[in-house]
Amino acid sequence: MAKAENVIEIKNLSKIYNAGEDIAVHALSDVNLAVKRSEFLAIMGPSGSGKSTFMNILGFLDSPTLGKYIIDGIDGSSLNNDQKADIRNQKIGFIFQGFNLLARTSALENVELPLFYRGTVSSKQMREKAAELLKLVGLGGREHHIPSRLSGGEQQRVAIARSLINDPAIILADEPTGNLDTKTTNDIMNLFRKLNDELGITIIIVTHEPEVADFTKRKIVFRDGKLIQDVLTKKKKNAGYTRELYK
């Protein structure tokens, strides 16, 4: 079966918050976007421009006010809460800026958690797979450490391992390097690139830092809830290609 070529298809998406009496916040207005399988995308834009709102809709954590969103062939508007939970569990891997992990819960148990909710895997298999992924993100031997014993970068690696455990179609990372130093940021970004290159996982990250965005293959920029720029990242090999969306 040929899967839909686009892993993400967004059409005329809007999100309007009613903040107070009659003040409506247009967090997203009329966004259109198509993302192919195995793309590596950075979302940029000033604070309050709607990046997180957009990510949350992509990740089935939130629903849009208007518009269509199809993720890995599934129309998000037609799903109930349980179906959304199952998609978050099986198709999407989440990484947030901080406080990503369950406190006082070992790295291994944190990584296992999505499988636990999936409920189709034995606890032995869960443990094996989680340990394997911790090794992949460079945390072999740290399985039984709780988050408070891990550095920020290490915690993000655990979150990355957790996001991989259900073999997701997409990884969504909202400012994953937000409070990390340059070296750790580079390590994490290299890890993402490796996952994208070697496993072909579609990755979308939100970031403020241009250096972080440079690790990706494509950049989109939001301003005031609108998608204003969509460019291929300049690299030695594929430099030069830029496209203005809105004049």
Partner: protein, 394 residues
């Protein structure tokens, strides 16, 4: 989502807040402990009274005569011989503290001055020797049948027949000894007594026929009522009572005592039921409160769980399992504590211990019920959270 994993993670979570969990479950502990004690005391009290009552004997009643005229051997013989319903009848005078000795051993014991039917009514069996013979009774011989405790203490573990023992300063010959009752009843030792022929007692030791009672054994349980009626009309006639006079005698039955016993244990039980339900409700509200606190403290955790695929009912189950686990652990502690207190008090009262599986099952299910009932609202609150609101919660 597998239950065993959920329970495991609930226990882990509760362990992280050990002090809080312990304090929260105290209400449940007290509630369950009172259920256990309630059932235990109820049964023990019943056993105690049943055993005391049993001193009358099975299907037996006791007539306490009018001071106007003693009950005599004539009465007992007449009743025994003339009515089918009355199988046994025996006079009895009880002397509570009688001095008995042999060599250097001295003790104070209970003495029953009786006829042979007394042993049948109370269900005693001979271990050694024989009952009183016609001749021994008619000749007012100094003979005695001893309970097993007396035999062991004064004679030893051998056949006591023929041995001499001093009762109230007079030498008596042991002609028989009884099988022990085999009751694990520490306060009253039913085997600590001696029995001698009725007339021997009244001529050799104390002539106090005024205290004479009549033990009557009915042929079976169904005949008991009829036997009582026979006794009533017999004694009204004996005392020449007119139709409108009150009975000049008293007929004691086991039933009356049992009713009193049941009344006492019912009162005791209602009191403890009160304590149990109040503490289970208060304990339940405590659990609900702490679960609500826990839900708001862990909103961010709930958000993360939802983001990685927990369905609403997974969150619901997680919190219900936590509150049930809290209650069940409290319940187990309560069962142990209840039995401990019950056991200590029973030991002090010298009552009999009664182990009731049913009360364990009931209190355990009650603890689970409290956990589900009071855990549901906070759990529902957690499950209803919107994933994005939960994640943003600070």
């Amino acid at each position: 989502m597998k239950l065993s994993i959920s329970i495991h993670s609930a226990i882990t979570t509760l362990k992280k807040n050990r002090t809080r969990s312990t304090l929260t479950s105290i209400g449940i502990v007290i509630g369950v402990a009172s259920v256990i004690m309630m059932v235990g005391f109820g049964y023990s009290a019943k056993i105690v009274v049943r055993q005391k009552v049993f001193s009358f004997g099975e299907n037996a009643v006791v007539v306490q005569g009018s001071p106007k005229e003693f009950i005599t051997a004539k009465d007992s013989k007449y009743l025994r011989d003339n009515f089918y319903e009355i199988k046994y009848a025996s006079l009895n005078t009880t002397e509570k503290n009688i001095r008995i000795s042999k060599g250097s051993k001295v003790a104070s014991t209970l003495l029953n001055a009786v006829e042979n039917d007394f042993f049948q009514i109370q269900g005693w069996k001979l271990k050694y020797g024989s009952y009183f013979s016609r001749e021994q009774m008619d000749n007012l011989e100094n003979v005695v049948i001893v309970g097993d405790t007396i035999r062991k203490n004064f004679i030893g573990f051998t056949d006591p027949v023929g041995q001499e023992i001093i009762i109230d300063g007079k030498p008596f010959r042991i002609i028989g000894s009884l099988e022990p009752r085999g009751l694990t009843f520490t306060q009253t030792d039913f085997d600590d007594f001696v029995a001698m022929p009725y007339m021997t007692f009244h001529s050799r030791i104390k002539n106090e026929k005024i205290r004479t009672e009549l033990f009557v054994g009915a042929v079976d349980e169904q005949s008991l009522g009829k036997a009582i009626n026979i006794l009533k009309s017999y004694f009204r006639q004996k005392y020449n009572q007119t139709a409108d006079e009150k009975d000049d005698f008293v007929i004691l039955t086991n039933d009356e005592n049992l009713e009193i016993a049941e009344y006492i244990s019912l009162t005791l039980s209602s009191l403890l039921i009160g304590i149990a339900s109040i503490s289970l409700i208060v304990g339940g509200i405590g659990i609900m409160n702490i679960m609500l606190v826990s839900v708001s403290e862990r909103t961010r955790e709930i958000g993360i769980r939802m983001a990685i695929g927990a369905r609403n009912r997974d969150i619901l189950m997680q919190f219900i399992i936590e509150s049930v686990t809290l209650c069940v652990l409290g319940g187990i502690t309560g069962i142990l504590l209840g039995y401990l207190i019950y056991f200590i008090i029973i030991l002090m009262l010298g009552w009999q211990f009664y182990f009731s599986l049913l009360s364990i099952i009931i209190s355990f299910s009650f603890a689970c019920f409290v956990g589900i009932f009071f855990g549901y609202y906070p759990a529902k609150k957690a499950a209803k959270l919107n994933p994005i609101d939960a994640l943003r919660y600070e």
